[in-house]
């Protein structure tokens, strides 16, 4: 017989244990698959190397670029925070669909917002695994110590992580609604915001009509803030506050969108039909 305590536990409105159960599910996969762990760290490291060597080449040809080595490498690493954070949410979700596990999950006492919580935490873990090796390798290869950004680095990291969560949740919601046909949005979605985030160049470089769009993105404030710290040794609190405010709005909207799509999936009978 089920214990009464089990039944009470199953009825809890929010259970960290159920969130932890889903984290365990993804950590089991990572633990037994070294190629996956390697792949997580591989691309950020390759990006950093590529941009590092390009910068090294230009160092001898431009005094501006001579100051910019740290900027470009820091930008590459921070962009990867955004990219990996988005993938961390979307791929963890799609993995449930690939394995036709979604129906099983939702006949358990798991609540949709507990699934969302686990996706966000898993994204944080994946992002840390992804960018940490590249951040440390930048020192021996290019004499760039990204941690010289100091405490603002945490602010930049957190804002990009949360923005990646929002994009990842929207993509996951679309996959839930439209199936694996929408899978490629995992990669396409985030690259839409790349060119207008001012990763490698100031927002002022963009055409005038595009600049308001860019300033509607938290990432624009982060990368402008990063340049402020590296070029002028100034942490722009106003940029930080704007990024936080936008992230709060976007994260709330993306969570609401995911839950709405979950409700739609229940109306359309999609939870049992998902799979390859």
């Amino acid at each position: 017989m089920s214990d009464a305590s089990d039944i009470i536990a199953a009825r809890e409105v929010f259970s960290w244990r159920r969130v932890a159960a889903l984290l365990l599910r993804h950590l089991y996969v990572l633990r037994r698959s070294w190629p996956r762990l390697l792949e997580l760290a591989y691309w950020p490291t390759m990006q950093m190397m590529l941009w590092g060597f390009i910068t090294t080449f230009f160092l001898e040809h431009s005094t501006w670029v001579a100051q910019a080595a740290a900027v470009l490498i820091s930008a590459v690493l921070l962009w990867d925070v955004l990219f990996r954070s988005n993938l961390g949410v979307a791929l963890s979700f799609i993995e449930e669909i690939w394995s036709r596990n979604l129906g099983q999950l939702f006949v358990s006492p798991l609540r949709p917002y507990e699934l969302v919580s686990s996706l966000l935490i898993m994204s944080f873990i994946r992002t840390i695994i992804s960018v940490t090796p590249a951040a440390f390798l930048a020192l021996p290869f290019f004499d760039v110590w990204v941690f010289q950004l100091g405490p603002p680095l945490i602010a930049f990291f957190a804002n990009l992580l949360i923005m990646g969560w929002s994009v990842g949740l929207v993509v996951s919601a679309l996959v839930l609604r439209y199936g694996l046909g929408a899978e490629s949005l995992c990669w396409l979605g985030i690259f839409l915001v790349g060119p207008i985030s001012g990763i490698y160049y100031p927002i002022a470089t963009l055409p005038g009509w595009l600049q308001p769009v860019a300033w509607a993105l938290p990432s624009a404030y982060v990368f402008e803030g990063m340049r402020g710290v590296l070029f002028e040794q100034v942490f722009r609190v106003d940029f930080f506050a704007a990024a936080v405010a936008l992230n709060v709005i976007y994260l709330a909207l993306s969570c609401a969108f995911f839950l709405f799509m979950f409700h739609t999936a229940r109306k359309k009978g999609l939870l049992l039909q998902q799979g390859e």
């Binding site: 017989m1 089920s2 214990d3 305590s5 089990d6 039944i7 536990a9 199953a10 009825r11 809890e12 409105v13 259970s15 244990r17 159920r18 932890a20 159960a21 889903l22 365990l24 599910r25 089991y28 996969v29 037994r32 698959s33 993995e95 449930e96 394995s99 036709r100 596990n101 979604l102 129906g103 099983q104 999950l105 939702f106 006949v107 358990s108 006492p109 798991l110 609540r111 409700h263 229940r266 109306k267 359309k268 009978g269 939870l271 049992l272 799979g275």
Partner: protein
């Protein structure tokens, strides 16, 4: 053993589900009593899986109500999901996780205590101990079915829903699963609802049968009642005679017939 109340475990009232123009389920009503095994029987597209999905709260109906353990499943599914479980060959467990890992994850999702002991006992019972540490994706169909059953029985459900529990199994494994389910139900006093095409399975396991066609319940009763009412020698023939009736005749609604 928990004291069993005589009030129905499941009450379905005037349940309807339309997908656009498609009437997947049309005004069905039935009750499932404790300790019973009820079969939802019907051809492809009859509405069995749709009905099961609504009972599980995975699918929202167009209209009607479903009460499970006295709770409205459409509004308060989380109050009862801990006492239910489900198995189907059409859903899976993550293939890369070992059997033990998958069962551990689900044990946590159900908030269970003493997980290692429970897993060991269940594995012994379902004869899956030998492959607990193998990736789930590498198992044969029969082994996967037993693992799926282990997941479905983890929380010792009071209500077990099964969608075609022996589909794609060889006769020997299918027989093992049926025998196991029979003894499990006797031992635990749980209630089972199963959807199946396999009339021999239904005749062996079920004490009440709902035959669906075109989203409606067109016949209901015990196996003996149905066989007697239709003048046939077995359920297979009853099913075939109903399936071959013109749809206007088979479409008559027996939902008002009392159990």
């Amino acid at each position: 053993m928990t004291k069993v109340s005589a009030s129905p475990v499941v009450i379905v009232d005037n349940l309807t589900k339309h997908f656009g123009e498609v009437r997947a389920v049309e005004r069905i009503s039935f009750e499932v009593l404790p300790l019973s095994t009820t079969a939802l029987v019907g051809g492809n597209g009859a509405g069995k899986t749709t009905t099961l999905s609504i009972l599980l709260g995975l699918l929202l109906p167009t209209s009607g109500t479903v009460t499970v353990f006295g709770e409205n499943i459409l509004r308060h599914r989380h109050r009862v999901l801990g006492r239910m479980n489900f198995s189907s060959p059409y859903v899976d467990l993550p293939r890369r996780l070992s059997v033990a890992e998958n069962l551990t994850v689900y044990a946590h999702l159900y908030g269970l205590d003493r997980i290692p002991e429970r897993l060991r006992a269940l594995a012994r019972d379902l004869e899956i101990t030998a492959f607990l540490n193998r990736p789930t994706g590498e198992l044969s169909a029969g082994q996967k079915t037993r693992v799926a059953l282990a997941k479905a029985l983890l929380n010792e459900p009071r209500l077990l829903l099964l969608d075609e529990p022996t589909a794609s199994l060889d006769p020997d494994t299918g027989d093992w699963v049926r025998a196991y389910l029979e003894s499990w139900r006797r031992r635990t006093g749980a209630t089972i609802i199963l959807a199946s095409h396999n009339m021999a399975e239904v005749e062996r396991l079920c004490d009440h049968i709902l035959i669906m066609r075109d989203g409606r319940i067109v016949e209901r009763g015990t196996p003996a009642e149905l066989i007697g009412r239709h003048g046939k020698s077995n359920l297979e023939d009853v099913f075939l005679s109903i399936a071959r009736e013109p749809s206007g005749v088979a479409g008559k609604d027996f939902s008002a017939v009392a159990q």
